[in-house]
């Protein structure tokens, strides 16, 4: 109880005084997760749309695999990425291990299945609604995809938010591939793990509150943006 309280107090002071270390870590968290979100969305959303409109032989298998990969253990992803990027690994020459880029790669792998699965569900429903009309209008595959993505953009935002939440709260994979190096790859979650390990619960809690506050404000900001865009539509 005392820990929780002093954590709150410390978090408050860290935030209001713009503690430089905290700001640096928080900004790095945001940057890594937003980059991962951007890359993952660029992969997952078109993939989800193609899965919705195209009938090919392995479609069901791909969907099943995507759904299964949603529950992928991040530690395993971290391990695989680590092996690939390590100096003796196939991508070792790139020298990416223990850099923010490696963390982005791991997060992308973790959230692509999540975003694609959620997006696919809403795109599939929308496609059922649009199917007859778009077929009748002879639109190209590409036009089907862009039409669906545009008209389902609200639901896609929700999918993206889920991905962002998973990315920014993730610790296992980025700890392995990032190494939690001070001033280089330390982010909120890995810092929390470190401080907890050191027994500095107050600081760990402070970081935790900042993390939660960040996640909530990003979510609110995006929802607010999407509401103003569609003002008075439904």
């Amino acid at each position: 109880m005392v820990d929780l309280w002093s954590g709150l107090v410390q978090a408050f002071w860290l935030v209001v005084t713009f503690n430089s270390e905290l700001v640096e870590i928080a900004l790095r968290s945001l940057r890594v997760s937003f980059t991962a979100l951007l890359v993952a969305s660029l992969i997952a959303m078109p993939l989800a749309a193609i899965l919705a409109v195209k009938r090919f032989r392995w479609r069901r298998v791909v969907i099943a695999v995507l759904n299964a990969l949603m529950g992928l253990p991040p530690v395993v992803v971290g391990l695989v990425v680590y092996v690939l990027l390590s100096r003796s690994g196939p991508l070792g020459v790139l020298g990416l291990l223990f850099t923010p880029t490696a963390m982005v790669i791991a997060q992308v792998i973790i959230i692509v299945p999540l975003i694609a699965s959620i997006a696919h569900q809403s795109l599939r429903d929308l496609w059922q609604e649009y199917h007859d009309l778009l077929i009748s209008m002879n639109v190209t595959q590409m036009q089907k995809v862009t039409t669906l993505l545009w008209d389902a953009r609200r639901a896609l935002l929700t999918a993206a938010l889920a991905g962002f939440g998973r990315a920014i709260g993730e610790v296992g994979a980025i700890m392995i591939v990032g190494g939690n190096i001070d001033h280089a790859t330390r982010v909120l979650t890995t810092a929390i793990a470190l401080e907890t390990g050191k027994g500095d619960f107050a600081l760990a809690l402070a970081l935790g509150f900042v993390l939660i506050a960040l996640a909530i404000s990003v979510s609110l900001a995006i929802h607010w943006l999407s509401r103003t865009e569609r003002e008075g539509s439904w």
Partner: protein
């Protein structure tokens, strides 16, 4: 005018999971004016229209247009019994067929606004299409089908949820389209509408074409007792 016609259906049939929805149909249409497809519920009117348009799979027989089928498909539009609304504004719905054909945004929007006015939706350009009333959606669907100037327009019960005035407006638009050289194939339950619009009649029963011919003949000297019963508003078995 339209290089699509005549179209010849030769034992054409559409089935789904082994159950025949319509067919086998033998029919030749020359696309002069308005062809009205009549018949009781479940007779296969929707299925026949979809089959001809290519929206339902041809499972037996053949359909031959006077030009290659892909070209014929591109020259057609379809207004569904249950209108499909894109989750966009009225204006964007109308502009959509033009935009996918590569018309520039400005011009597409201008023509969309023009068509919205013609079907009486001029006051609600920025409203989201899915919140329109049933009748307004039907008008929007009609305008969206006509905006790309198809050579042939299919309409599946275009006036099913319209009041008398809206129906008259729609019929005027359809007659104007016919005057401009568009061929129309429409299904309806409304005998009054059939009499007002039809140049040709196709009477369907149990998935097959029961009787087909010029509207004048059909309404004045019906050949079969079933069609006569239908015209008198009796229940057709």
């Amino acid at each position: 005018m339209s290089a699509l016609f005549p179209v010849v259906l030769d034992s054409a049939e559409t089935a789904r999971r082994g159950q025949v929805l319509a067919g086998p149909v033998n029919l030749t249409l020359d696309g002069q004016g308005i062809c009205v497809v009549l018949g009781p519920n479940g007779a296969g009117k929707t299925s026949l229209l979809r089959l001809m348009h290519g929206a339902a799979r041809l499972t037996a027989g053949s359909i031959r247009w006077s030009c290659p089928t892909p070209q014929a498909r591109r020259a057609q539009a379809f207004v569904f019994q249950r209108p499909v609304m894109l989750r966009r504004t009225v204006l964007e719905n109308l502009a959509y067929p033009l935009r996918i054909r590569g018309v520039r945004r400005r011009e597409a929007m201008q023509r969309a606004a023009d068509w919205a006015g013609r079907v009486g939706l001029g006051g609600m350009l920025d409203r989201q299409a899915p919140v329109l009333s049933g009748g307004e959606q039907q008008k929007l669907a009609l305008a969206r089908a006509l905006i790309a100037e198809p050579a042939l327009l299919f309409l599946d019960e275009p006036c099913a949820s319209l009041d008398g005035r809206a129906m008259r407006e729609i019929e005027e638009i359809l007659l104007a389209a016919r005057a401009a050289g568009t061929s129309l194939i429409l299904s309806t339950h409304d005998m009054g509408q059939a009499r007002r619009l039809a140049d040709e009649v196709v009477f369907m029963l149990h998935g097959k074409v029961h009787e087909a011919g010029p509207a004048h003949d059909f309404f004045n000297q019906t050949a079969t007792p079933e069609a006569r019963a239908f015209l008198h508003g009796d229940i057709v078995e």
